[in-house]
Symmetry: C2
Subunit: 218 residues, 2 copies
DNA sequence: CACCTAATTATACACTTGCATAATTACCTT
DNA sequence: AAGGTAATTATGCAAGTGTATAATTAGGTG
């Protein structure tokens, strides 16, 4: 029973990269940066650690790629929500807000992942750029939805309103992820939609979509 | 020139504990959990690593103590803000909101520290308890200020309004810490006070305090 | 089928981490 | 001033980290 070398199959480059990235994101979500060691990542991806350095310059490179992939996926999901919403501006906005304040977006693992990456944002300029771009994109989406509402607002007001609404959403998302059992039913979404409506001077509550509609990956 | 043993003085237990805790908090704020190694902490506290295990069971114990200390300090600061505010309910609320959305509370290092500790909150039940207590205390303070406003609101509404306002504050705090240069002057506080006022149906803007008032430690 | 290339694994290394233990020495007591 | 005690330092260690490099072998090509 001496050393038996492990059998393997040659997968496509893209699949291996994605497997490694996905493993990284999962591990970070579960146990923070601490848990995402090269060995753990490789094991989760069904591979040996050496392969990481075959597809990436090093661990830092992999982490960067993972963050970029995550951000791309998130903005794509947001776009999907807007696309699948109806035509009425108020309903579209309500759907956008509600989607950000319900599972699977509200999810303890997502908060952990977000918290873990925030550290990198400060140190790594490349990451910081991705972060800012994603954040501003989200805010712009929101600002667009607000601009489509009936009534006219000047550009400066529009920006400030978008910042405020974005704040409510982010803050409530945070609280929902950190203390999930504190907000039964769909309370978080209802509070968020009501608050955004109040800030904008529009009653959005009649337009809040049914909770049991869509679902995405955690 | 052989090994010269380092000179030292015997400080009080309380001072040493505080020095170690303070060093831990600073390092976590600067470089995340990663940077807060026993050696770095000891060096920052002007001490050798072994002392950590003399005053604490281990690194985890020190980290827990640091988190508890931080949370205590934060709630104390919040209480100070309320104490130093005037008598008018609207002005008190405006002061409370504004204080949370200005330096030194809005500070990149604080976000990093918060993010670093959030991970622990999920894994360590003791830490989680402290976290929830602090969070609920903050929200209760807020709810009390809201309840003091003119007009009557039932208990359920009060709770929901406090959650929403807390969300705005948290979310804007987050954005302000992450992208400091995006909000010149006192814009963040102004947006926050306006949004909270809108949610509550009260115009708080006339009561927003002058930015150049107080200052605290980062 | 043999061969060649590159995807994959295996091994080794230098470094860091937290912790345990032993050796010192500053300061209090008498 | 002497002595004792506990606060503090010094040293060592096992485990885990990322990375470099060499050894294999899967799978396409002639």
């Amino acid at each position: 029973m001496t050393g038996e070398r492990r059998k393997f199959t040659r997968e496509g480059e893209e699949r291996r990269r994605e497997a490694l990235i996905s493993a990284t994101l999962d591990l970070v979500a579960e146990g923070g940066v601490m848990a995402a060691t090269v060995r753990a990542i490789a094991a989760r991806a069904g591979v040996t650690p050496g392969l990481i350095r075959h597809y990436f310059t090093g661990k830092e490179d992999l982490t960067r790629a993972a963050y970029r992939g995550l951000m791309d996926r998130m903005t794509a999901e947001n776009l999907d929500v807007i696309r699948n919403a109806g035509a009425d501006p108020a309903a579209r906005l309500a759907a956008f807000v509600a989607a950000s304040l319900r599972p699977p977006v509200v999810h303890a693992g997502r908060l952990g992942r977000w918290a873990a990456f925030i550290q990198m944002v400060r140190r790594d300029p490349a990451i910081r750029e991705v972060h800012e771009a994603t954040y501003l994109n989200y805010r712009d989406q929101l600002q667009g939805l607000i601009a489509d509402l009936p009534g006219s607002r000047d550009e400066g007001d529009l920006r400030r309103l978008a910042i405020a609404c974005n704040g409510v959403i982010d803050g409530l998302w945070l609280e929902g992820c950190a203390l999930p059992e504190s907000f039964p039913d769909d309370e978080l979404a209802r509070i968020g939609v009501a608050a955004v409506g109040a800030i904008l001077g529009v009653d959005l509550m009649p337009h809040i979509p049914d909770p049991a509609a869509e679902s995405e990956t955690p």
